[in-house]
Symmetry: C2
Subunit: 272 residues, 2 copies
Protein backbone atom coordinates (compact mmCIF):
# COMPACT_ATOMS: atom_id res chain seq x y z
CA UNK A 1 0.00 0.00 0.00
CA UNK A 2 1.79 3.18 -1.11
CA UNK A 3 1.81 6.12 1.26
CA UNK A 4 -0.06 9.26 0.29
CA UNK A 5 3.06 11.41 0.61
CA UNK A 6 4.77 9.31 -2.06
CA UNK A 7 1.88 9.16 -4.51
CA UNK A 8 1.11 12.86 -4.06
CA UNK A 9 4.68 14.07 -4.60
CA UNK A 10 5.67 11.69 -7.40
CA UNK A 11 6.84 13.00 -10.75
CA UNK A 12 7.16 11.47 -14.21
CA UNK A 13 9.57 12.44 -16.93
CA UNK A 14 8.22 14.37 -19.91
CA UNK A 15 9.59 13.97 -23.42
CA UNK A 16 11.35 17.33 -23.19
CA UNK A 17 13.27 16.33 -20.06
CA UNK A 18 11.08 18.22 -17.61
CA UNK A 19 8.99 16.42 -15.00
CA UNK A 20 5.21 16.28 -14.66
CA UNK A 21 3.55 16.41 -11.26
CA UNK A 22 -0.03 16.42 -10.04
CA UNK A 23 -0.55 18.76 -7.09
CA UNK A 24 -3.11 17.44 -4.63
CA UNK A 25 -5.72 19.59 -2.87
CA UNK A 26 -5.08 17.89 0.46
CA UNK A 27 -2.04 20.15 0.84
CA UNK A 28 -3.94 23.44 0.66
CA UNK A 29 -3.39 25.99 3.38
CA UNK A 30 -4.77 29.50 3.25
CA UNK A 31 -4.53 30.82 -0.29
CA UNK A 32 -2.44 28.09 -1.86
CA UNK A 33 -0.64 24.80 -1.58
CA UNK A 34 1.83 24.38 1.25
CA UNK A 35 5.32 25.52 0.34
CA UNK A 36 6.99 22.52 1.94
CA UNK A 37 4.83 20.13 -0.09
CA UNK A 38 5.90 21.91 -3.27
CA UNK A 39 9.52 21.70 -2.17
CA UNK A 40 9.16 17.92 -1.79
CA UNK A 41 7.72 17.69 -5.33
CA UNK A 42 10.73 19.66 -6.61
CA UNK A 43 12.96 17.47 -4.47
CA UNK A 44 11.63 14.30 -6.09
CA UNK A 45 12.20 15.69 -9.58
CA UNK A 46 15.79 16.58 -8.69
CA UNK A 47 16.35 13.09 -7.27
CA UNK A 48 15.13 11.62 -10.56
CA UNK A 49 17.41 13.90 -12.54
CA UNK A 50 20.50 13.21 -10.39
CA UNK A 51 20.27 9.48 -9.61
CA UNK A 52 23.78 9.16 -8.18
CA UNK A 53 23.29 12.23 -5.96
CA UNK A 54 19.93 11.32 -4.46
CA UNK A 55 19.76 13.65 -1.48
CA UNK A 56 19.10 17.35 -1.09
CA UNK A 57 21.93 19.00 0.85
CA UNK A 58 20.57 22.53 0.45
CA UNK A 59 17.58 23.95 -1.40
CA UNK A 60 16.63 27.65 -1.70
CA UNK A 61 13.12 28.31 -2.96
CA UNK A 62 11.67 31.68 -3.96
CA UNK A 63 7.87 31.68 -4.03
CA UNK A 64 6.61 33.77 -6.95
CA UNK A 65 2.90 32.95 -7.03
CA UNK A 66 0.45 30.68 -5.21
CA UNK A 67 0.14 27.15 -6.55
CA UNK A 68 -3.21 25.51 -7.12
CA UNK A 69 -4.24 21.85 -7.18
CA UNK A 70 -3.78 20.24 -10.59
CA UNK A 71 -0.98 19.61 -13.08
CA UNK A 72 2.43 21.24 -12.70
CA UNK A 73 5.77 20.98 -14.44
CA UNK A 74 9.23 20.94 -12.88
CA UNK A 75 11.97 22.14 -15.23
CA UNK A 76 15.56 21.47 -14.17
CA UNK A 77 18.78 22.98 -15.46
CA UNK A 78 21.86 21.27 -14.01
CA UNK A 79 24.39 24.04 -13.59
CA UNK A 80 27.31 22.05 -12.31
CA UNK A 81 27.88 18.37 -11.74
CA UNK A 82 31.19 16.97 -10.71
CA UNK A 83 32.82 15.58 -7.64
CA UNK A 84 30.48 14.72 -4.82
CA UNK A 85 27.78 17.35 -5.41
CA UNK A 86 25.63 18.76 -8.19
CA UNK A 87 23.90 22.13 -8.32
CA UNK A 88 20.79 22.84 -10.35
CA UNK A 89 18.30 25.61 -10.94
CA UNK A 90 14.67 24.54 -10.91
CA UNK A 91 11.33 26.06 -11.81
CA UNK A 92 7.95 24.71 -10.80
CA UNK A 93 5.33 26.15 -13.09
CA UNK A 94 1.66 25.72 -13.88
CA UNK A 95 0.95 26.75 -17.45
CA UNK A 96 2.81 30.01 -18.01
CA UNK A 97 2.87 30.91 -14.34
CA UNK A 98 6.09 30.21 -12.49
CA UNK A 99 5.16 29.26 -8.94
CA UNK A 100 8.60 28.65 -7.49
CA UNK A 101 12.11 29.24 -8.74
CA UNK A 102 14.79 27.45 -6.76
CA UNK A 103 18.42 26.50 -6.54
CA UNK A 104 19.56 23.24 -5.05
CA UNK A 105 22.74 21.32 -4.32
CA UNK A 106 22.37 17.55 -4.15
CA UNK A 107 24.74 14.85 -2.95
CA UNK A 108 24.67 11.52 -1.16
CA UNK A 109 24.14 11.83 2.58
CA UNK A 110 25.23 8.20 3.03
CA UNK A 111 28.76 9.09 1.95
CA UNK A 112 29.31 11.91 4.43
CA UNK A 113 31.51 11.46 7.46
CA UNK A 114 29.92 10.24 10.67
CA UNK A 115 31.33 13.02 12.84
CA UNK A 116 28.67 14.81 14.89
CA UNK A 117 29.68 17.83 16.96
CA UNK A 118 26.25 19.41 17.23
CA UNK A 119 25.97 21.96 20.02
CA UNK A 120 22.37 22.89 19.27
CA UNK A 121 20.03 21.59 21.93
CA UNK A 122 17.23 19.21 21.16
CA UNK A 123 13.81 20.77 21.80
CA UNK A 124 12.38 19.81 25.14
CA UNK A 125 9.00 18.23 24.57
CA UNK A 126 6.87 16.30 27.05
CA UNK A 127 6.10 12.70 26.07
CA UNK A 128 3.94 12.37 22.96
CA UNK A 129 0.89 11.38 24.97
CA UNK A 130 1.14 14.54 27.09
CA UNK A 131 1.22 16.88 24.09
CA UNK A 132 -1.72 18.47 22.29
CA UNK A 133 -2.70 16.73 19.04
CA UNK A 134 -3.49 18.73 15.92
CA UNK A 135 -6.80 16.86 15.77
CA UNK A 136 -7.85 19.23 18.57
CA UNK A 137 -7.12 22.32 16.45
CA UNK A 138 -10.06 24.73 16.29
CA UNK A 139 -12.40 24.22 13.34
CA UNK A 140 -11.54 27.62 11.81
CA UNK A 141 -7.89 26.61 11.64
CA UNK A 142 -8.59 23.21 10.14
CA UNK A 143 -10.96 24.77 7.59
CA UNK A 144 -8.20 26.95 6.12
CA UNK A 145 -5.55 24.26 6.48
CA UNK A 146 -6.60 20.92 4.98
CA UNK A 147 -2.92 19.96 5.05
CA UNK A 148 -3.18 19.48 8.82
CA UNK A 149 -5.01 16.23 8.05
CA UNK A 150 -1.82 14.90 6.48
CA UNK A 151 0.00 15.09 9.79
CA UNK A 152 -0.03 13.67 13.27
CA UNK A 153 1.37 16.60 15.25
CA UNK A 154 1.57 16.82 19.03
CA UNK A 155 2.23 20.36 20.21
CA UNK A 156 4.06 21.38 23.33
CA UNK A 157 1.25 22.14 25.80
CA UNK A 158 2.95 25.40 26.85
CA UNK A 159 2.86 26.66 23.25
CA UNK A 160 -0.76 26.18 22.25
CA UNK A 161 -2.21 29.23 23.96
CA UNK A 162 -2.89 30.68 20.51
CA UNK A 163 -5.62 28.07 20.03
CA UNK A 164 -7.59 29.67 22.86
CA UNK A 165 -6.67 33.30 22.22
CA UNK A 166 -3.75 33.38 24.63
CA UNK A 167 -0.53 33.14 22.62
CA UNK A 168 2.67 33.01 24.66
CA UNK A 169 4.22 35.90 22.74
CA UNK A 170 7.59 34.13 22.71
CA UNK A 171 7.64 33.27 19.02
CA UNK A 172 8.26 29.57 19.48
CA UNK A 173 6.24 26.53 18.37
CA UNK A 174 7.40 22.96 18.77
CA UNK A 175 5.78 19.62 18.19
CA UNK A 176 6.25 15.93 17.69
CA UNK A 177 5.62 15.19 14.04
CA UNK A 178 4.88 12.24 11.80
CA UNK A 179 2.92 11.63 8.63
CA UNK A 180 -0.61 10.50 9.39
CA UNK A 181 -0.29 7.18 7.56
CA UNK A 182 2.97 6.21 9.24
CA UNK A 183 5.23 6.92 6.25
CA UNK A 184 8.70 7.19 7.74
CA UNK A 185 10.77 10.37 7.25
CA UNK A 186 13.47 10.60 4.60
CA UNK A 187 15.49 13.49 3.13
CA UNK A 188 12.71 14.38 0.67
CA UNK A 189 9.98 14.45 3.30
CA UNK A 190 12.19 16.68 5.47
CA UNK A 191 11.83 19.36 2.77
CA UNK A 192 8.13 19.31 3.57
CA UNK A 193 8.49 18.98 7.33
CA UNK A 194 10.43 22.28 7.62
CA UNK A 195 7.31 24.13 6.47
CA UNK A 196 4.59 21.95 8.01
CA UNK A 197 3.86 23.56 11.37
CA UNK A 198 1.65 26.64 11.62
CA UNK A 199 3.59 29.89 11.22
CA UNK A 200 5.38 30.87 14.39
CA UNK A 201 3.45 34.13 14.23
CA UNK A 202 0.48 32.21 15.68
CA UNK A 203 2.41 32.24 18.96
CA UNK A 204 2.74 36.03 18.64
CA UNK A 205 -0.98 36.69 18.36
CA UNK A 206 -0.97 36.98 14.55
CA UNK A 207 -2.91 33.96 13.40
CA UNK A 208 -3.25 34.90 9.72
CA UNK A 209 -1.57 33.63 6.60
CA UNK A 210 2.16 34.46 6.45
CA UNK A 211 3.33 34.28 2.84
CA UNK A 212 6.88 33.00 2.36
CA UNK A 213 9.19 35.05 0.17
CA UNK A 214 12.10 32.62 0.40
CA UNK A 215 12.91 29.40 2.22
CA UNK A 216 16.30 27.70 2.41
CA UNK A 217 16.57 24.21 3.88
CA UNK A 218 19.71 22.29 4.80
CA UNK A 219 19.27 18.52 5.03
CA UNK A 220 22.14 17.23 7.14
CA UNK A 221 21.46 13.53 7.65
CA UNK A 222 19.07 10.74 6.72
CA UNK A 223 16.55 10.68 9.55
CA UNK A 224 16.03 7.61 11.72
CA UNK A 225 12.51 6.11 11.62
CA UNK A 226 9.96 7.30 14.13
CA UNK A 227 8.68 10.57 15.50
CA UNK A 228 10.44 13.78 14.56
CA UNK A 229 10.72 16.81 16.81
CA UNK A 230 10.12 20.08 14.97
CA UNK A 231 10.77 23.52 16.36
CA UNK A 232 9.91 26.88 14.78
CA UNK A 233 11.19 30.16 16.16
CA UNK A 234 11.51 33.76 15.13
CA UNK A 235 13.81 36.35 16.61
CA UNK A 236 13.52 39.27 14.22
CA UNK A 237 10.01 40.48 13.49
CA UNK A 238 10.39 43.93 11.98
CA UNK A 239 9.42 46.05 9.01
CA UNK A 240 6.42 43.88 8.21
CA UNK A 241 8.53 40.76 7.80
CA UNK A 242 9.98 38.03 9.95
CA UNK A 243 12.48 35.23 9.68
CA UNK A 244 11.35 31.77 10.75
CA UNK A 245 13.96 29.20 11.72
CA UNK A 246 13.04 25.55 11.79
CA UNK A 247 14.94 22.63 13.25
CA UNK A 248 14.02 19.00 12.72
CA UNK A 249 15.42 16.37 15.08
CA UNK A 250 15.04 12.65 14.50
CA UNK A 251 14.22 9.87 16.96
CA UNK A 252 17.93 9.18 17.42
CA UNK A 253 18.44 12.73 18.71
CA UNK A 254 20.18 14.06 15.61
CA UNK A 255 19.57 17.50 14.11
CA UNK A 256 18.71 16.28 10.61
CA UNK A 257 17.42 19.47 8.98
CA UNK A 258 17.57 23.23 9.51
CA UNK A 259 15.71 25.84 7.55
CA UNK A 260 15.18 29.57 7.57
CA UNK A 261 12.55 31.47 5.70
CA UNK A 262 11.77 35.13 5.17
CA UNK A 263 8.03 35.74 5.30
CA UNK A 264 5.64 38.63 5.42
CA UNK A 265 3.82 39.21 8.66
CA UNK A 266 0.16 38.26 8.56
CA UNK A 267 -1.82 41.33 7.55
CA UNK A 268 -5.07 40.57 9.28
CA UNK A 269 -5.17 40.04 12.99
CA UNK A 270 -8.13 37.79 13.62
CA UNK A 271 -10.49 39.14 16.25
CA UNK A 272 -10.66 36.93 19.30
CA UNK B 1 37.43 60.77 -2.79
CA UNK B 2 35.55 57.57 -3.62
CA UNK B 3 35.78 54.69 -1.18
CA UNK B 4 37.53 51.51 -2.28
CA UNK B 5 34.47 49.38 -1.56
CA UNK B 6 32.48 51.40 -4.09
CA UNK B 7 35.10 51.49 -6.83
CA UNK B 8 35.92 47.80 -6.36
CA UNK B 9 32.32 46.58 -6.50
CA UNK B 10 31.03 48.88 -9.23
CA UNK B 11 29.51 47.50 -12.42
CA UNK B 12 28.82 48.93 -15.85
CA UNK B 13 26.14 47.89 -18.28
CA UNK B 14 27.16 45.87 -21.32
CA UNK B 15 25.44 46.19 -24.68
CA UNK B 16 23.71 42.82 -24.17
CA UNK B 17 22.13 43.92 -20.89
CA UNK B 18 24.58 42.09 -18.65
CA UNK B 19 26.94 43.95 -16.31
CA UNK B 20 30.73 44.11 -16.39
CA UNK B 21 32.74 44.06 -13.18
CA UNK B 22 36.43 44.08 -12.34
CA UNK B 23 37.27 41.81 -9.41
CA UNK B 24 40.07 43.19 -7.26
CA UNK B 25 42.87 41.09 -5.74
CA UNK B 26 42.57 42.88 -2.40
CA UNK B 27 39.59 40.63 -1.62
CA UNK B 28 41.46 37.34 -1.92
CA UNK B 29 41.21 34.85 0.92
CA UNK B 30 42.57 31.34 0.74
CA UNK B 31 41.95 29.93 -2.72
CA UNK B 32 39.72 32.63 -4.15
CA UNK B 33 37.94 35.92 -3.76
CA UNK B 34 35.78 36.42 -0.70
CA UNK B 35 32.22 35.25 -1.21
CA UNK B 36 30.72 38.30 0.47
CA UNK B 37 32.65 40.64 -1.82
CA UNK B 38 31.26 38.77 -4.83
CA UNK B 39 27.78 39.01 -3.36
CA UNK B 40 28.17 42.80 -3.14
CA UNK B 41 29.21 42.94 -6.81
CA UNK B 42 26.10 40.94 -7.71
CA UNK B 43 24.09 43.19 -5.40
CA UNK B 44 25.24 46.31 -7.24
CA UNK B 45 24.31 44.83 -10.61
CA UNK B 46 20.83 43.97 -9.32
CA UNK B 47 20.41 47.49 -7.95
CA UNK B 48 21.27 48.87 -11.39
CA UNK B 49 18.80 46.53 -13.07
CA UNK B 50 15.97 47.29 -10.61
CA UNK B 51 16.27 51.03 -9.95
CA UNK B 52 12.93 51.40 -8.16
CA UNK B 53 13.66 48.40 -5.94
CA UNK B 54 17.15 49.34 -4.82
CA UNK B 55 17.65 47.09 -1.81
CA UNK B 56 18.35 43.40 -1.40
CA UNK B 57 15.75 41.81 0.87
CA UNK B 58 17.05 38.27 0.43
CA UNK B 59 19.84 36.80 -1.69
CA UNK B 60 20.77 33.11 -1.99
CA UNK B 61 24.12 32.40 -3.60
CA UNK B 62 25.45 29.00 -4.65
CA UNK B 63 29.22 28.99 -5.12
CA UNK B 64 30.18 26.81 -8.09
CA UNK B 65 33.86 27.64 -8.59
CA UNK B 66 36.49 29.93 -7.10
CA UNK B 67 36.66 33.44 -8.57
CA UNK B 68 39.91 35.07 -9.52
CA UNK B 69 40.93 38.72 -9.79
CA UNK B 70 40.09 40.25 -13.16
CA UNK B 71 37.06 40.80 -15.36
CA UNK B 72 33.71 39.20 -14.59
CA UNK B 73 30.20 39.42 -15.99
CA UNK B 74 26.92 39.50 -14.07
CA UNK B 75 23.95 38.23 -16.08
CA UNK B 76 20.49 38.94 -14.67
CA UNK B 77 17.15 37.39 -15.58
CA UNK B 78 14.25 39.15 -13.84
CA UNK B 79 11.77 36.39 -13.09
CA UNK B 80 8.99 38.42 -11.55
CA UNK B 81 8.50 42.12 -11.03
CA UNK B 82 5.30 43.52 -9.68
CA UNK B 83 4.01 45.03 -6.52
CA UNK B 84 6.63 45.95 -3.98
CA UNK B 85 9.27 43.32 -4.77
CA UNK B 86 11.11 41.82 -7.73
CA UNK B 87 12.82 38.44 -7.95
CA UNK B 88 15.70 37.68 -10.29
CA UNK B 89 18.11 34.89 -11.06
CA UNK B 90 21.71 35.97 -11.44
CA UNK B 91 24.95 34.42 -12.64
CA UNK B 92 28.41 35.78 -12.03
CA UNK B 93 30.78 34.28 -14.55
CA UNK B 94 34.36 34.68 -15.72
CA UNK B 95 34.68 33.56 -19.33
CA UNK B 96 32.78 30.29 -19.60
CA UNK B 97 33.11 29.49 -15.92
CA UNK B 98 30.09 30.25 -13.75
CA UNK B 99 31.40 31.27 -10.35
CA UNK B 100 28.12 31.92 -8.57
CA UNK B 101 24.51 31.32 -9.41
CA UNK B 102 22.06 33.15 -7.22
CA UNK B 103 18.46 34.12 -6.63
CA UNK B 104 17.47 37.43 -5.12
CA UNK B 105 14.39 39.35 -4.12
CA UNK B 106 14.76 43.13 -4.09
CA UNK B 107 12.54 45.86 -2.73
CA UNK B 108 12.79 49.23 -1.03
CA UNK B 109 13.72 49.02 2.65
CA UNK B 110 12.67 52.65 3.12
CA UNK B 111 9.04 51.74 2.42
CA UNK B 112 8.77 49.00 5.02
CA UNK B 113 6.90 49.54 8.25
CA UNK B 114 8.82 50.83 11.24
CA UNK B 115 7.66 48.09 13.62
CA UNK B 116 10.54 46.37 15.43
CA UNK B 117 9.74 43.41 17.66
CA UNK B 118 13.18 41.83 17.60
CA UNK B 119 13.75 39.34 20.43
CA UNK B 120 17.27 38.39 19.33
CA UNK B 121 19.86 39.77 21.70
CA UNK B 122 22.56 42.13 20.56
CA UNK B 123 26.03 40.58 20.89
CA UNK B 124 27.81 41.64 24.04
CA UNK B 125 31.11 43.21 23.08
CA UNK B 126 33.48 45.20 25.27
CA UNK B 127 34.14 48.77 24.12
CA UNK B 128 35.94 49.00 20.78
CA UNK B 129 39.20 50.05 22.44
CA UNK B 130 39.17 46.94 24.65
CA UNK B 131 38.77 44.52 21.74
CA UNK B 132 41.51 42.88 19.68
CA UNK B 133 42.15 44.54 16.31
CA UNK B 134 42.63 42.45 13.17
CA UNK B 135 45.87 44.32 12.63
CA UNK B 136 47.22 42.03 15.35
CA UNK B 137 46.30 38.88 13.41
CA UNK B 138 49.21 36.47 13.02
CA UNK B 139 51.22 36.90 9.81
CA UNK B 140 50.22 33.46 8.48
CA UNK B 141 46.57 34.45 8.67
CA UNK B 142 47.10 37.82 7.00
CA UNK B 143 49.19 36.18 4.27
CA UNK B 144 46.30 33.96 3.15
CA UNK B 145 43.70 36.67 3.72
CA UNK B 146 44.57 39.97 2.02
CA UNK B 147 40.91 40.92 2.46
CA UNK B 148 41.56 41.51 6.16
CA UNK B 149 43.30 44.74 5.13
CA UNK B 150 39.95 46.02 3.85
CA UNK B 151 38.48 45.92 7.34
CA UNK B 152 38.87 47.44 10.75
CA UNK B 153 37.70 44.57 12.95
CA UNK B 154 37.90 44.44 16.74
CA UNK B 155 37.38 40.94 18.08
CA UNK B 156 35.88 40.00 21.39
CA UNK B 157 38.94 39.31 23.58
CA UNK B 158 37.38 36.07 24.88
CA UNK B 159 37.10 34.73 21.33
CA UNK B 160 40.59 35.17 19.95
CA UNK B 161 42.22 32.16 21.56
CA UNK B 162 42.55 30.64 18.10
CA UNK B 163 45.20 33.22 17.26
CA UNK B 164 47.46 31.68 19.89
CA UNK B 165 46.48 28.03 19.44
CA UNK B 166 43.84 28.02 22.18
CA UNK B 167 40.42 28.20 20.51
CA UNK B 168 37.47 28.40 22.87
CA UNK B 169 35.72 25.47 21.23
CA UNK B 170 32.37 27.24 21.51
CA UNK B 171 31.92 27.99 17.82
CA UNK B 172 31.33 31.71 18.24
CA UNK B 173 33.21 34.72 16.83
CA UNK B 174 32.10 38.30 17.26
CA UNK B 175 33.63 41.63 16.43
CA UNK B 176 33.11 45.31 15.88
CA UNK B 177 33.34 45.96 12.15
CA UNK B 178 33.83 48.85 9.78
CA UNK B 179 35.43 49.35 6.40
CA UNK B 180 39.03 50.51 6.76
CA UNK B 181 38.51 53.78 4.88
CA UNK B 182 35.46 54.79 6.85
CA UNK B 183 32.91 54.02 4.15
CA UNK B 184 29.60 53.78 6.01
CA UNK B 185 27.49 50.61 5.83
CA UNK B 186 24.53 50.30 3.48
CA UNK B 187 22.37 47.39 2.32
CA UNK B 188 24.87 46.41 -0.40
CA UNK B 189 27.87 46.41 1.94
CA UNK B 190 25.91 44.25 4.38
CA UNK B 191 25.99 41.50 1.73
CA UNK B 192 29.75 41.55 2.13
CA UNK B 193 29.78 41.98 5.90
CA UNK B 194 27.90 38.70 6.48
CA UNK B 195 30.88 36.80 5.07
CA UNK B 196 33.74 39.02 6.25
CA UNK B 197 34.83 37.50 9.55
CA UNK B 198 37.07 34.43 9.64
CA UNK B 199 35.11 31.16 9.53
CA UNK B 200 33.65 30.27 12.91
CA UNK B 201 35.57 26.99 12.63
CA UNK B 202 38.68 28.96 13.71
CA UNK B 203 37.10 29.02 17.17
CA UNK B 204 36.75 25.22 16.99
CA UNK B 205 40.43 24.57 16.34
CA UNK B 206 40.01 24.17 12.57
CA UNK B 207 41.82 27.17 11.12
CA UNK B 208 41.76 26.12 7.45
CA UNK B 209 39.74 27.32 4.49
CA UNK B 210 36.03 26.48 4.76
CA UNK B 211 34.48 26.56 1.29
CA UNK B 212 30.90 27.82 1.17
CA UNK B 213 28.37 25.73 -0.72
CA UNK B 214 25.50 28.16 -0.24
CA UNK B 215 24.87 31.43 1.56
CA UNK B 216 21.53 33.15 2.06
CA UNK B 217 21.41 36.69 3.45
CA UNK B 218 18.38 38.62 4.65
CA UNK B 219 18.83 42.40 4.73
CA UNK B 220 16.21 43.73 7.09
CA UNK B 221 16.92 47.45 7.43
CA UNK B 222 19.18 50.22 6.19
CA UNK B 223 21.99 50.36 8.73
CA UNK B 224 22.74 53.48 10.76
CA UNK B 225 26.23 54.96 10.24
CA UNK B 226 29.04 53.84 12.50
CA UNK B 227 30.46 50.61 13.82
CA UNK B 228 28.61 47.38 13.16
CA UNK B 229 28.58 44.41 15.50
CA UNK B 230 28.98 41.09 13.69
CA UNK B 231 28.50 37.68 15.24
CA UNK B 232 29.19 34.28 13.67
CA UNK B 233 28.08 31.05 15.26
CA UNK B 234 27.64 27.41 14.36
CA UNK B 235 25.51 24.86 16.16
CA UNK B 236 25.56 21.89 13.82
CA UNK B 237 28.98 20.66 12.75
CA UNK B 238 28.45 17.16 11.38
CA UNK B 239 29.10 14.96 8.38
CA UNK B 240 32.01 17.11 7.22
CA UNK B 241 29.85 20.22 6.95
CA UNK B 242 28.62 23.01 9.17
CA UNK B 243 26.11 25.80 9.10
CA UNK B 244 27.34 29.29 9.95
CA UNK B 245 24.84 31.87 11.11
CA UNK B 246 25.76 35.54 10.99
CA UNK B 247 24.01 38.50 12.57
CA UNK B 248 24.85 42.12 11.83
CA UNK B 249 23.70 44.82 14.26
CA UNK B 250 24.03 48.51 13.53
CA UNK B 251 25.10 51.34 15.83
CA UNK B 252 21.45 52.06 16.67
CA UNK B 253 21.10 48.55 18.09
CA UNK B 254 19.05 47.15 15.24
CA UNK B 255 19.49 43.66 13.76
CA UNK B 256 19.97 44.79 10.16
CA UNK B 257 21.09 41.55 8.49
CA UNK B 258 21.00 37.82 9.13
CA UNK B 259 22.65 35.13 7.06
CA UNK B 260 23.18 31.42 7.13
CA UNK B 261 25.60 29.46 5.04
CA UNK B 262 26.34 25.78 4.53
CA UNK B 263 30.07 25.17 4.28
CA UNK B 264 32.47 22.28 4.23
CA UNK B 265 34.64 21.79 7.26
CA UNK B 266 38.26 22.72 6.76
CA UNK B 267 40.12 19.61 5.65
CA UNK B 268 43.52 20.41 7.05
CA UNK B 269 43.97 21.00 10.74
CA UNK B 270 47.01 23.22 11.11
CA UNK B 271 49.58 21.84 13.52
CA UNK B 272 50.03 24.03 16.54
Amino acid sequence: MPHEFDTQTEVSRNADGSYAAELWPGWLVGGGLNGGYLLAVIGNALRRRLPDKPDPLVVSAYYLSASTPGPATVAIDVRREGGSVATASVDLHQGDDVRITALATYGDLATLGDDVLTTAEEPELPPVEDCVPNSMAPPEVRAIAPLMDRFDMRFHPDQVGWTVGAPSGKGVLSAWFRLVDGREPDPISLLMVVDALPPVTFDLGMPGWAPTLELTAHVRARPAPGWLKVRHATRNMAGGMFEEDCEVWDSAGRLVAQSRQLARQPRAVVAR
